[in-house]
């Protein structure tokens, strides 16, 4: 028996946040979570996938081998129209094992916890240098341009072997790529430009290898283990995921802290690595910037929470509301830098959990752990109501953050 759902009768996803609560998930998600772990929602193309709202069910489904991330399967709830002409996945983030594991393992080495730790002094230097420049420059300034974007962009460029001089090119195209309401052709064109750019770079690494990750991929191409297209697309994934997410966490996190002065004060007064690390986990949980949900499709019938998800049903696991589940985090809507938030699902769960998480954590620890101590008078240079939020992005954040000191 298949139940029929009238699309007009189920809530739309994504839906708007409440005007005065820019840090909270949309109210309709709170309401759906209260009603139960699963609900049907209507998405942009008129289809009605399941929306999974509770923490335990999200973790269970994301770790379930009967659940697929393969974007090419019928029923997969795409977050926006297709990017590539043939509809194929941008890279392993939208593939299943064994292909997913084959590609992910090729780029894993620089992202281990210990390798990332060796980069900490270099990241500290980048952060200090940017703060020096900021303090010597105009006041007020846009923190996104002056600090939030350059920190992760400089780091991922170094790691991949992408010239930072090209940052305007790849930042502008990334911005278009992750806007879910951008014109589909415009998004596809931005994707094509990025692939072409990375393909060109990979070509150069084939002739002149260096110490970077793209050079390691070039070696794999020579060894016949990887196609050039796979390498270029993996490069796009790493470049985009490597700077957009962390940049949004830095800027939105700063705004959230400025709006919670008692919490900001904790960071201003400490150099305790444990407190700073805990604060990063709590900000990841509280802000959960990947607010379009994890997207999956069921491969088999799955019984969960008294419901049956049918094979071929689309699933959206809304980790933003999962991280606000009162069963998992008491008083979940409160930003509390001292709580133990390490179980959050801001990096996802299951085999696709964020590859770059050790790097993101370290960058955020250095950024949050330095900026407010060195600029203790940092304040918003406009009203909260005038801040342009990325409601339309696949990744949430602010387009601009005017600050003064």
């Amino acid at each position: 028996m298949t139940e029929t759902v009238n699309p007009a009768e189920v809530p739309q996803f994504p839906s708007a946040r409440a005007a005065r609560c820019p840090f909270d998930p949309p109210p309709v998600l709170h309401a759906l979570q209260e009603q139960g772990p699963l609900a049907k929602v209507r998405v942009w193309d008129g289809t009605t996938p399941w929306l999974v709202t509770r923490y335990e069910e999200q973790r269970a489904l994301l770790a379930d081998p009967r659940v697929s991330a393969d974007v090419t399967r019928p029923g997969y709830p795409r977050s926006a129209p297709v990017l590539s002409k043939d509809g194929s996945a941008i890279s392993f983030i939208l593939m299943d094992d064994p292909e997913h594991a084959r590609l992910r393992r090729m780029v894993q080495a620089p992202f281990t916890v210990r390798r990332v730790e060796t980069l900490r002094p270099a990241v500290q230097k980048i952060v200090d240098g940017l703060i020096d420049d900021m303090l010597a420059g105009p006041n007020p300034v846009d923190l996104v341009e002056a600090f939030a974007l350059p920190v992760p962009s400089l780091v991922i460029c170094e790691l991949l072997g992408v010239p930072y001089a090209d940052h305007e090119f790849f930042q502008d195209n990334s911005k278009i790529l992750i806007r879910r309401d951008a014109d589909p052709e415009e998004r596809a064109a931005a994707f094509a430009r990025l692939v072409e750019y990375l393909d060109d770079l990979v070509g150069r690494k084939l002739d002149h290898p260096g110490e970077d990750l793209l050079s390691r991929l070039a070696e794999r191409i020579k060894a016949g283990e990887l196609t050039r297209q796979e390498a270029a697309r993996m490069g796009v994934l790493l470049l985009v995921a490597g700077h957009e997410t962390t940049a949004n966490m830095i800027a939105l996190g700063t705004l959230a802290l400025l709006e919670h002065p008692d919490q900001l004060d904790l960071l201003r007064r400490t150099d305790d690595p444990k407190l700073i690390a805990g604060a990063v986990e709590e900000l990841l949980r509280y802000l959960n910037i990947t607010h379009s949900g994890r997207r999956r499709v069921a491969l088999e019938d799955i019984e969960i929470a008294g419901q049956v998800i049918r094979a071929g049903d689309g699933l959206i696991l809304a980790n933003d509301i999962g991280n606000r589940d009162p069963e998992a985090f008491p008083d979940p809507d409160r930003l509390d830098l001292r709580r133990d938030a390490r179980r959050h699902v801001a990096f996802g769960f299951g085999v696709h959990q964020c590859l770059g998480q050790p790097l993101a954590r370290m960058e955020l620890q250095v950024a949050y752990g330095t900026l407010y101590r060195r600029v203790p008078t940092l304040r918003l240079a406009t009203e909260l109501e005038r801040i342009p939020f990325k409601h339309d992005g696949q990744v949430y954040g602010v387009y601009e953050l005017p600050v003064a000191w």
Partner: protein, 64 residues
């Protein structure tokens, strides 16, 4: 406490190393988990349980 890991399931998230670096490490070449100490001392027990709870691949089992 005794720890059992499943390297085939591990996706190299590094969560266990972040939780308790005295007990877990990652292989240099592909980040797969390495167990440094299968029977860690009692004072690390809660950190080890934390590691098992956050492992996204369900690759860490703790036998009490």
């Amino acid at each position: 406490m005794k720890i059992v890991i499943d390297q085939d399931r591990c996706i190299a998230s590094g969560q266990c190393v972040t939780a308790v670096g005295e007990v877990f490490d990652q292989r240099d070449e592909d980040g797969v988990v390495v167990l440094l100490d299968p029977t860690p001392p009692a004072e690390l027990a809660s950190a080890v349980r934390q590691a098992a709870a956050v492992c996204p691949a369900l690759a860490i089992r703790v036998e009490e």
